[in-house]
Amino acid sequence: MLDKNIAHDVINCALEHGADFCDIFVEKKDSQSVSFNSSEVKDIQSGMNFGIGVRLIYGTKSLYAYTNSKERDDLIKLTQTLAASYKTGSQALMQDQFNTLTYQEIKSFINKEMPLEEKINNLKSLDSKIRAQGEYISQVNISMIQYQQNIEVFNSKGLYAHEVRPYCRVATNAIAKDGDKQCSGSWNPGARGGDGFLDSLDHDWIAEYLGKKTKTVLYAEACPAKTMDVVIDNGFGGVIFHEACGHLLETTSVEKKSSVFWDKKGEMIAHENLSAVDDGTIDNLWGSISIDDEGMPTQRTQLIKNGKLENFLSDTLGEMKTGHKRTGSARRQSYKFAPASRMRNTFIEEGPHSNDEIIQSIGDGLYCKSMGGGSVNPGTGEFNFAVEEGYLIKNGKLDKAVKGATLIGRGEKIMKNISMVGKNLDFAAGMCGSVSGSVPVTVGQPMIKVENILVGGNS
């Protein structure tokens, strides 16, 4: 994509202007999306993004600029503009050529070329199966986005790294209606992969899941509002760890000492039954990357082991500012963002408890079968996330369905309240927004029990 001689000149321009470090991020993204509504194709779009980001680091200060141009003069001018804001001496220039990084590539779904017409028929089939769940399904919206992100990283240490990342995600949404009652439910699987992932989707399972979920929520009563013990089922339930703890372990939050965990490495920050990992190396997963956006091979990072904080998620600046070693976690939405330490595939590891043991341990509580998204205030650790499908628990057994529940709390407190961990680990795809934009991530967990968490509801 970018001529290596131009990259070399840009980096030397930065060094000549006194930068301690310079890296260049080149991105070309080809995308295609198809959306369905009322069993017809609503929109089909193709697109191409291309841009280059140049970062200069002086000490621990980051200067960043981006452009759509790959012309030498434009990039040099951009670099000079950045450098002009931070006047200093000059560094030794880079003499050698770039060394190409070799790394173990994370596997993607086996690709299967599907013509556009076949993809559309695939989605049509999914649409009709969801509608077949019952007349209460009044509308189905489906969209599919596929893109291939082609990246290059050059830096002043002589690194050249390159990766092609294929992504595919399908968003399904069903609306259920009965008289004046209306509700919607969604299921949005995604993966590192292309047409092969689309081909692998189990339409019968998705249709049945959405049919049952929307029917349940349509007739559910409002959830009672109070503090109670809560069971959160596997898969997307892992958003609790992502929000309540994961963001607070990113060095972007640690470096400002705004994270409540910034000085807790080696300490017990969670219940002894809880171990958690952020792993960018898992084949096929939506949040997997072979190299991060600074060109470092990604890693499996043990965050918490039996309740003890083991590691943070760190990038180049994070390491400079906090001393925590880089973990291959530098990520960004696109060339329009400087990289920052971000989660990849984050999950609670399997524990010793069966699902029955967990539910039977609760006298009066809430079972959250499926979760919506959430957010966290990284300064205070206050998090919230939504329950899409929930059931009350009475005397160790599932009771009536409830809707409109939200769980809130503080990360440092809730991590100690996750007292039981099941064995049915599963993953789910999501988008995570933070300082370096919106990036694909996976959340995951087996079933867990959280003691004494505040449940917000309308009853």
Partner: protein
């Protein structure tokens, strides 16, 4: 090639490839931003980018494509992709390119003064230092920055309609992170303006510090039903989260719970809501929609009756209703609809009457992107604020949730104030509204 020539070339290629009509959006942006930490520059970013999106209609089917590469080859590719995509779209009898005679219109609101980057950085240093000076417990200002943004948007269609808009803004924001033993609290606030002298940096400091300090000792209130007043920014967030209820496109797609409610009483009779593109108190004006048509004020709700949905040319044709020129489309998105600035008409109640007796003042909500169901109207959000009585704060409150049903909530209004307030980004204008009850989960 100049910008308009690029767009003309794309339209020429579209027509040469068999399209009956085509329109092109080209957006350009330039920005500068900086962040100061511990009295020193921490981050500095400059950017420049542009993107072109084309929509073609061929055989009454729509195809879309976009590119950030403006070489001749790429322009041919973007058109051929759009044409190819159109082959797989449904036949859409209501899709057409605005067929008015050739017209050009523009709205230019560009910068009126040269800003030195160093002035902005110094302002940012001052924001941080002044927040820290207020209390020794302020351990930092983790969100602290300034930015300057310029945007240009061009629209051209195959019938010769051309529209150009240019906008400029400055912004600053800061935060106060207060720590006292094991307790901590964080709040931030921002200001947007056209001139450096109009940035309300003192309010950024005051708001950030005041709420962070108060919430340091905040606690939950008892669970129950409370009368509620939302701060103007939170009211904007809540109304914004359900703004799609005015979308004729969502109605066309059978994904709007208000689909069958046109001209029906949906809210309290005291509530009237308008969409005002060129409201004089708004920082930005939005005089043209994304099909190049001039917009006028639009009544959405009048005395509680739903009077209009947002229409573009396609939705208006579909419903055989009048187009009210609320087309919304970016270079990389399909034609949709959207509003501009919201104005809720003032009522007759004084602030004193509205703030009498006990009520919950909501100043911050979390989870608006996930804790609601647009179709049912149910919502449940984390919240912070103050338990108030006769306008005085009895207790700072956090660690609670507020839950209700948005469509019911707007029928449960105790009073509407007689003064219009503006939110911090001057896009939402409303009086104080006291809602009779929301469910609070606390202790």
């Amino acid at each position: 090639m100049k910008t308009k020539e690029v767009m003309e070339k794309v339209i020429e290629l579209s027509l040469a490839n068999g399209a009956q009509g085509s329109d092109v959006i080209l957006s350009e942006g330039k920005s500068f931003s900086a962040s100061v930490q511990n009295a020193d520059l921490d981050k500095y970013e400059v950017s420049g980018s542009k993107i072109l999106g084309v929509r073609v209609i061929k055989d009454q089917k729509i195809g879309l494509s976009f590119t950030e590469d403006f070489t001749a080859d790429s322009l041919e590719v973007v058109v051929s992709k759009a044409i190819e995509n159109s082959q797989f779209s449904k036949v859409n009898e209501n899709a057409f390119i605005a067929n008015d005679s050739k017209e050009s219109s523009s709205h230019i609101d560009n910068k009126t003064e040269e800003i030195e980057v160093n002035d902005l950085i110094e302002l940012n240093k001052e924001l941080e230092s002044k927040v820290k000076e207020l209390d020794k417990r302020v351990s930092g200002s983790p969100y602290n920055g300034v930015s300057e943004n310029e945007s240009k948007s061009h629209f051209l269609n195959s019938n010769g309609r051309y529209c150009y808009e240019e906008d400029y803004s400055l912004s600053c924001y800061t935060s106060a992170l207060i720590k006292d033993g094991e307790k901590n609290s964080l709040h931030y606030y921002g200001s947007v303006a056209k001139k450096l002298s109009e940035l309300d940096y003192q309010k950024c400091i005051d708001e950030s510090f005041h709420h962070a300090k108060e919430w340091l000792d905040a606690s939950p209130i008892k669970s129950g039903k409370y009368p509620v007043i939302f701060s103007i920014d939170q009211m904007q967030s809540l109304f914004g989260a359900f703004h799609r209820m005015y979308s004729a496109k969502a109605r066309m797609e059978k994904s709007n719970p208000m689909s069958e409610k046109l001209n029906q009483q949906i809210f309290s009779k005291n509530l009237s809501i308008l969409d005002v593109p060129t409201y004089e108190k708004a920082l930005f004006a939005s005089p043209f929609d994304s099909e190049g048509y001039a917009r006028k004020d639009l009544t959405l709700v009048e005395n509680g009756v739903l009077k209009n949905f947002f229409h573009n040319s396609e939705t208006a044709a579909f419903f055989k209703e009048e187009n009210n020129f609320r087309a919304a489309r970016g270079a990389r998105s399909a034609l949709s609809v959207g509003g501009t600035h919201t104005l809720i008409q003032k009522g007759k109640d004084s602030e004193k009457d509205l703030t009498s007796q006990k009520y919950l003042m909501v100043h911050s909500m979390q989870g608006l992107h996930s804790g609601l169901n647009f179709m049912s109207g149910d919502f449940s959000f984390g919240a912070s604020g103050y338990l108030m009585e006769n306008g005085e704060a009895l207790q700072a409150v956090n660690g609670i949730t507020v839950a209700g049903n948005f469509y019911d909530l707007l029928n449960e209004i105790d009073g509407i104030g007689d003064t219009i307030h503006s939110n911090s980004s001057t896009s939402f204008f409303a009086p104080t509204i006291r809602f009779s009850k929301l469910t609070v989960a606390g202790v």
